[in-house]
């Protein structure tokens, strides 16, 4: 519920995802309250472009969800063509895709889980459904001692090739990323109605072998097997319905890297936009050290939910 708060910055996350996942609410960051809302565009890139243009100058910051604009992999930056086009739709209000914050936030979440989490990461078999969009998390999981399988080729393209090391991930990224990011986003990632379709098992043995499943929630959800007994999921953008679904499949722990607003964990883009609005700064002036100090000031930790016994309920 949005309250009338005259001086509260307004942040809007424009997403290529389903509008059924829209929310609005308030987020407290340090001593400020931010009005935050999501506007899904059901996979329609032109509609997202129109929304961003309409919000330009009418919001304090805009998040861009449902796709990554920038992929940072081992010091290289790759630009998703559709995303870059959307970024250009606003000229006054800053637009961020979450990748700036993600590189700081997600490693911090993994370090916290390694030190304080309710399940072990050291020596744990981990399935990371995609790592090209979360390279920082991938590095942090390996640093925490996880035995990580990266599913970018399996879940992104249906290719039966589990990537089993960061070195192999980097090698494959060097060959593929520059060209693949030029493809239309609908080929790269579930957007719009694809986010609402029932899960269809794909490479279920990879889910079965993992104790921890990490990465983008829409990719995780799209290929979920029927049972995930006792497993932990590390992700974000989950709703109450997602939590119920995971609990019904037997998931024990749900860890979200972003705070929960109106019952769902924020997209990283929305959180990064909220941080920029609070800082009152342009994206190009904010670096990892700024996010790190903000996370320290917030005493940041991921949300950890024990779903045991939650099946059929709504948290």
């Amino acid at each position: 519920m949005v309250h009338a708060m005259g001086d509260a910055p307004r942040v809007v996350s424009v997403s290529l995802g389903s509008r059924r996942r829209d929310y609005q609410g308030m987020l407290r960051l340090l001593d400020r309250v931010v009005r935050i809302e999501r506007q899904g565009c059901d996979g329609d890139v032109e509609e997202a472009e129109r929304r961003i243009a309409a919000l330009d100058g009418n919001a304090d910051a805009i998040g861009l969800g449902g796709l990554d604009v920038y992929l940072y992999i081992a010091g290289d930056r790759y630009v998703v063509a559709d995303g870059e086009r959307l970024m250009r739709a606003a000229t006054r209000t800053p637009v961020v895709d979450g990748s700036g914050l993600k590189a700081t936030l997600e490693p911090a979440a993994i370090r916290w889980l390694a030190a304080h989490g309710p399940f072990p990461l050291e020596a744990a078999p981990v399935l990371m459904v995609s790592a090209l969009d979360r390279y920082g998390m991938a590095v942090a999981l390996e640093a925490a001692g996880g035995r990580v399988v990266y599913g970018d080729l399996m879940f992104g393209a249906g290719i039966p090739y589990p990537i089993t090391s960061l070195e192999d991930l980097r090698r494959i990224a060097r060959k593929l990323a520059r060209e693949i990011t030029r493809l239309p986003v609908r080929l790269l990632y579930p957007t719009g109605q694809a986010q609402e379709q029932p899960s269809q098992e794909r490479f279920p043995e990879q889910y079965a072998q993992a104790d921890v499943i990490a990465g983008d929630f829409h990719l995780i959800r799209r290929y979920l097997p029927a049972r995930l007994d006792g497993k932990a999921i590390v992700t974000n953008t989950t709703t109450r319905a997602d939590r119920d679904d995971l609990a019904a499949r037997g998931v024990r722990w749900l860890c979200t890297t972003t705070p929960i607003v109106d019952g769902r964990s924020l997209g990283t883009n929305a959180l990064e936009a909220a941080m920029l609005a609070v800082l009152g700064r342009q994206p190009q002036t904010v670096g990892p050290e700024d996010f790190e100090s903000l996370l320290r000031a917030l005493d940041y930790r991921p949300e950890v939910l024990d779903l045991a016994g939650a099946a059929g309920g709504s948290g």
């Binding site: 290719i159 039966p160 060959k175 060209e179 693949i180 080929l187």
Partner: protein, 118 residues
């Protein structure tokens, strides 16, 4: 314009390079497909068969036997299989027409980049 016999050589060299890659042998397991490659300007038709992780040139396959069809001008098609041009660019600008499932198109893009990428 690349002639029919030159294109056969291009595809045979592509297949050699494909078959030298242990990655591609693994990645294409279970992906047995015939590509029908049509040069609209030169009038030739060639084929490429991927089976059991190996690729081979084949003479013009019947359209009913090909799961994937690529159509374009001879020079563009040759440039793709020589590794001089990623399939993405001509696909996006309409110079290359691909008829296949979206998933097969994505896989073909990945496999071509794995042969030549970087």
């Amino acid at each position: 314009m690349v002639a029919a016999d030159a294109m056969q050589g291009v595809l045979e060299r592509f297949a050699e390079r494909f078959n030298a890659s242990p990655d591609l042998a693994r990645m294409t397991q279970g992906w047995d497909r015939t590509l029908r490659i049509v040069a609209l300007d030169a009038g030739w038709v060639h084929g490429l068969r991927v089976e059991a992780g190996r690729a081979a040139w084949v003479a013009a396959p019947d359209p009913s036997q090909a799961e994937i069809a690529l159509q374009g001008d001879a020079d563009t098609l040759a440039a793709i299989f020589r590794g001089e041009l990623s399939p993405t660019e001509p696909y996006l600008d309409g110079t290359l027409l691909v008829r296949s499932s979206e998933e097969d198109m994505m896989k073909l893009d990945v496999f071509t980049l794995m042969v030549w990428g970087e």
